[in-house]
Amino acid sequence: MMKIEIHLYGRLRRFTDNPDPGKPSVIKIEVPGGTTINGALEKAGVPTDEVGTNIFLNGRYSSLDRVIDEGGRLGVFPDDMNLLYKWHFDKE
């Protein structure tokens, strides 16, 4: 199992116990090896249809399909905070 911290932004903060945008809104969970970002978000109770296109795993720009091969930090922004328009970006 890997420990990950999911940092959520914008309206996704409501899925954590901190809705205050001035403080980190974090969900700490453990996931088995081979889990994708999508899978981790589902386990954390974050509906992926509200997730936008800025997703970062340990600072690396990532897609929902990326497999989490080590623990660490996932940063996820909602679809109304998109700084992306299309999925035409090669992601890890």
Partner: protein, 579 residues
């Protein structure tokens, strides 16, 4: 035929000439660059009699095209020693163009020191008068008095106390849509050049102006609608979109997650207090405090993106406009400060003294590195900033920018290229922007070629931020940007037009509509290339070589946490950008 106002500060005369034929169809950065390159000796002293200061509204500025109210300012820079073009969004630009003026050229220096002048422009003509208002004062006070004297409707360009002292971090300040002294052609010390010429204000009154001539109105209107539609469709630029809702400071949290938010003078790429100073936090403060607090504020009348804000004090009264990403970062994460009210005060003072927020935030971080304050000590930073208004030796050092401050304090970690401090993107974490910082004619400048769009934001193509092969990407962005800076459009239209091809076509059509040209996307690239090459030639003649196109050594030596990246791009790759 456009007109040029030529102001001779030695003879104290101002006269109107026809725009030389060879400059027809040029505007904004293309025109300021052309005049700078044709008329200024690249080896002149930037603050001496042979430098000139050139203002030019963009090609479509003053029309109803969306986001078109930019004015370009050019000269030889006292900060970099090379060519400088800085631009601002302001009603001043939208007033100058309809009077038929393509450019203002200010030359010479006055024989009498310690006196200041103001250039007054209206439909009757131009005159140069002695300026007696607001000398040595904060800019908000000066603007208040000028609006009382000349009417609330006029546009104002000015320098603050830092420009009067001819210090290299001084910018040129323009009024915003509500009459604040808050919109800056900030970078490169253009305010010092204006100060050296003894020119304190330019006041423009467009009452009775004929308006900007549009050669093909039908084409212009079609283009305008396409562009507006693209801007109002794109997630970044639409009403209720990211920029409109959270301002440019939406980038604080994004760059922090990407590990590319320069923290404590570029020691780290992630700041533990980022969320306290994020766009979300600014929005929350505006909503909770109410009163003057406002998101979605436009800087000029034709702006439909509206990414500016008005940040309130705790009691709801106005503190400053605006806290945008670069300013927020410069005094916030870069100085280790996580208190928005302290950041607001630092931005406020920087505006009041007529300075560039990026250079001053960078300078403050270098001053902290040099022991003048602890990282994170906002109160001490505010005290240090106030030295500039006092005109103390320390104040003069700080307002000369990060490189001078670093040398004075014996600091080796000075994140500057060609003498200009880096803005809010870490080149070790986002390599393409490092190419731009290193090779731009302007010194470290994100707006020269915003590769962040494809590298982090996924706009306009694809690029892995840590991929080191970015010379073509950097060059392409720098050339396209040079064209956009000539049109008078806000650079932020790039988010929409790089993704939505109809928006790009619309942009080109508005330009063709105004000029009667039939340019295509190829011409955009060709003209952009011509502009950057003209700038390169000026810098070469001023003594710049490939060895000036480099990233500071400490970035090659020090790993940037949390990505633990160094600047690992070989110098030979940087040299490919302009090959």
């Amino acid at each position: 035929m456009g007109k040029v106002i030529r102001v001779d500060m030695e003879k104290l005369t101002a006269k109107v000439e026809d725009l030389p034929k060879k400059y027809v169809n040029r505007g904004g950065r293309w025109l300021t660059d052309s005049i700078v390159c044709d008329e200024i000796d690249p080896n002149c002293h930037p603050l001496g009699p042979n430098n000139k200061l050139v203002f030019a509204p963009g090609i479509v500025t003053g029309t109803k095209a969306p986001n078109s109210g930019r004015i370009s300012v050019g000269a030889k820079s006292p900060l970099t020693g090379g060519i400088k073009e800085a631009n601002a969004g302001t009603p001043f630009a939208e007033q100058l163009a309809p009077l038929g003026y393509s450019a203002i050229v200010v030359e010479g220096v006055p024989k009498e020191k310690g006196k200041y002048w103001q250039l007054e422009i209206d439909k009757k003509g131009v005159k140069l008068n002695e300026a007696k208002t607001g000398i040595g004062e904060v800019l908000s006070k000066a603007y208040g008095e000028l609006f009382k004297e000349h009417g609330k409707h006029v546009g104002i360009a000015s320098i603050g106390v830092s420009g009067e002292q001819q210090l290299s971090a001084a910018g040129i300040c323009f009024n915003d849509i509500d009459g604040r002294a808050s919109r800056f052609a900030g970078r490169g010390g253009l305010g010092a050049v204006m100060g050296s010429k003894g020119l304190k204000y330019i006041i423009v009154d467009d009452k009775g102006a004929k308006g900007v001539e549009i050669k093909d109105k039908k084409l212009f209107n079609e283009g305008r609608q396409k562009l507006a539609k693209a801007l109002m469709t794109h997630d970044v630029t639409k009403k209720g979109g990211t920029l409109n809702t959270y301002g440019t400071a939406a980038l604080i949290n994004v760059m922090n997650e990407a590990g590319g938010l320069p923290t404590r003078n570029f020691r780290e790429g992630r700041f533990e207090g980022a969320e306290k100073v994020s766009g979300e936090a600014i929005k929350a403060a505006c909503e909770e405090r109410g009163g003057a607090g406002l998101m979605g504020h436009p800087c000029h009348a034709s702006c439909i993106i509206q990414c500016s804000n008005v940040y309130p004090y705790e009691d709801g009264t106005e503190h400053v406009s605006c806290i945008e990403y670069e300013s927020d970062w410069a005094f916030g994460p870069n100085c280790g400060i996580d208190n928005l009210d302290q950041i607001a005060e630092l931005v406020h003072l920087t505006n009041e003294y007529g300075l560039d927020t990026i250079e001053m935030g960078g300078t403050m971080a270098v001053a902290m590195e040099g022991g003048l304050a602890e990282f994170g000590d906002g109160e001490k930073a505010i005290e240090l900033m106030k030295e500039i208004h006092k005109g103390s030796p320390l104040g003069k050092i700080l307002a000369s920018g990060a490189v001078t401050t670093g040398k004075t304090l014996g600091v080796t970690r000075v994140p500057a290229c060609k003498g200009q401090n880096m803005p809010a993107y870490e080149p070790r974490a986002v390599k393409g922007i490092g190419y731009v910082y290193a090779t731009s004619t302007m010194g470290a400048d994100h707006t020269s070629g915003y590769t962040i769009a494809p590298e982090i934001l996924g706009v306009g193509g694809s690029a892995d931020p840590l991929d080191t092969d970015k010379s073509a990407l950097a060059r392409g962005f720098m050339d396209t940007t040079a064209f956009l800076d000539s049109t008078g459009y806000c650079l932020f239209i790039a988010f929409a037009i790089l993704d939505i091809s109809e928006g790009f076509d619309g942009m080109v059509e508005t330009v063709n509509g105004v000029l009667g040209t039939s340019w295509t996307g190829d011409d955009v690239a060709r003209i952009g290339k011509e502009i950057t090459e003209m700038e390169r030639a000026f810098n070469k003649a001023a003594g710049f070589t490939k060895h000036d196109d480099r990233i500071p050594e400490f970035m090659k030596l020090e790993k940037l946490p949390p990505l633990n990246e160094t600047w690992n791009v070989p110098d030979s790759e940087l040299d490919k950008v302009f090959k």
